[in-house]
Amino acid sequence: MELTRRSFLKLAGVTAAAASLTSVGYRKAAADPGERLRIRYTQEFHTICTFCGVGCGIICNVRDGVIVNAEGDPDHPVNEGTLCSKGSSISNVSYTFDEKGKPRPNPKRLTDVLYRAPGSDSYEVKDWDWALDKIARRIKESRDRTHEATAMVDGEEVTVNRTKAIGWLGSAFCTGEENYLFHKMARAIGIVSMDHCARL
């Protein structure tokens, strides 16, 4: 059988693994790992690797809403199933493996809204509504205090509608749609100090 990288796709998904063993004289691997492909009966999702500007395709195999495997997308014309060390480790963001090889949620991953009060030496867990409300208030306070509606240019009053007191960074990690909304929101506030990783 001529193997292609494409054969990966045919086999994953809901296609049952069917091993055809034609050999005589050699044993099949008797026990584990054997023919039970661990991505059998999984759903496939196509994602884009987040680790550089090449834009490699990655297939995530998902079972019961959880990623069980993430590897190069053989159909993707740029990477044709290949990946580098970062790309092939991407699932490590969500899961790590303990000494016995059992998956555990990455213990360092943030899963709660955290707040640090002035002078405090720790974070406290908060809910979204509280945090978003508080942040919106902070933006408003800073904006209202520092907003310049007009400026004098050569003796003429010009509408400028800006505040230099709020900084805005990012992000090359976020999607185009997210960045579009970032831009809209920032300009609505009047932010001019805006930058992202293209410069860093």
Binding site: L3, G34, L37, E71, C84, S85, S88, F97, G101
Partner: protein, 264 residues
């Protein structure tokens, strides 16, 4: 019976280590705690959770600078020292030509690790088993190529038909020799009667950290010749030990889980 093998063209390896992490990803192997010791190569040794890694070597000779990188790990030898050394017959050649450890038969004696001329077999202290690269047997029998070769961006690793791979390797060696690498060679064609990991090296194997002349240790061969026929007796003997061991392990696990639950 080897019909499909893996070419490791070291002259094309860029050291991205996609193979190294893809192996861990597919086989769900935990990371190892390591420290920086002055080389990019890490972990320092193979273990039950590190089956393959990229080996880095740097040289400056006669003004020529070389940074040699290659993926290394189990070679899946035809004349496999580990198989000969195994007292329980747990190590065998599969129908795909790969060398595999049967976890049920393995007694964790580590003779295989000691005999391996490439030092690539690790020991799992939790299950008391020897562990190493399986050539992604589960993928092979399902029509997929091993995760390391599937991930390789530069075709430094190519999986395919043995005859085609050998021809490809030969062409590559010719090309390298013509382009300033007089020591370029194939490695793994004759060594230990041929390996399922066939290398193209741009220089001598020692410079890549590979043994120049890998062999089954003489002791292992003698041991195998004498002891081979009596293997079945030992299987029975260790079977009991094994059973006891598993039971014990389960008890320990259970106890540990309960302790953890209690503390939560």
């Amino acid at each position: 019976m080897k019909t499909q093998i893996c070419l490791i063209d070291a002259s094309k390896c860029i050291g991205c280590r996609g193979c190294q992490s893809a192996c861990k990803q597919w086989n769900q192997l935990p990371a190892v705690e390591t420290e920086f010791t002055g080389t990019y190569e890490n972990p320092p040794r193979y273990s039950c959770s590190t089956w393959t890694k990229v080996v880095f070597r740097e040289y400056r000779e006669n003004g020529r600078l070389q940074w040699l990188m290659s993926k290394q790990g189990c070679m899946h030898c035809t004349d496999a020292a580990c198989k000969l050394a195994c007292p329980t017959g747990a190590i065998y050649h599969t129908d795909e030509g790969t060398v595999t450890i049967d976890e049920i038969r393995c007694i964790g004696c580590n003779y295989c690790a000691a005999a391996c001329p490439f030092n690539v077999i690790g020991f799992d202290r939790f299950t008391n088993r020897a562990k190493k690269c399986t050539f992604c047997y589960d993928r092979l029998v399902n029509g997929m190529e091993p995760s390391c070769s599937a991930v390789c961006p530069t075709d430094s690793l190519v999986f395919g038909n043995e005859r085609e791979i050998i021809a490809k390797a030969q062409n590559r060696v010719d090309h390298l020799r013509k382009n300033g690498n007089p020591e370029a060679r194939i490695y793994g064609l004759d060594e230990v009667d041929g390996t399922a990991m066939l290398y193209v090296l741009a220089d001598k194997p020692e410079k890549y950290g590979l043994p120049a002349d890998p062999r089954v240790p003489f002791g292992t061969r003698v041991w195998n010749a004498i002891y081979g026929p009596l293997r079945f007796l030992v299987v029975i003997a260790v079977g009991f030990g094994l059973w006891a061991n598993i039971t014990k392990n389960r008890e320990l696990d259970r106890a540990k889980e309960e302790t953890q639950k209690g503390s939560e």
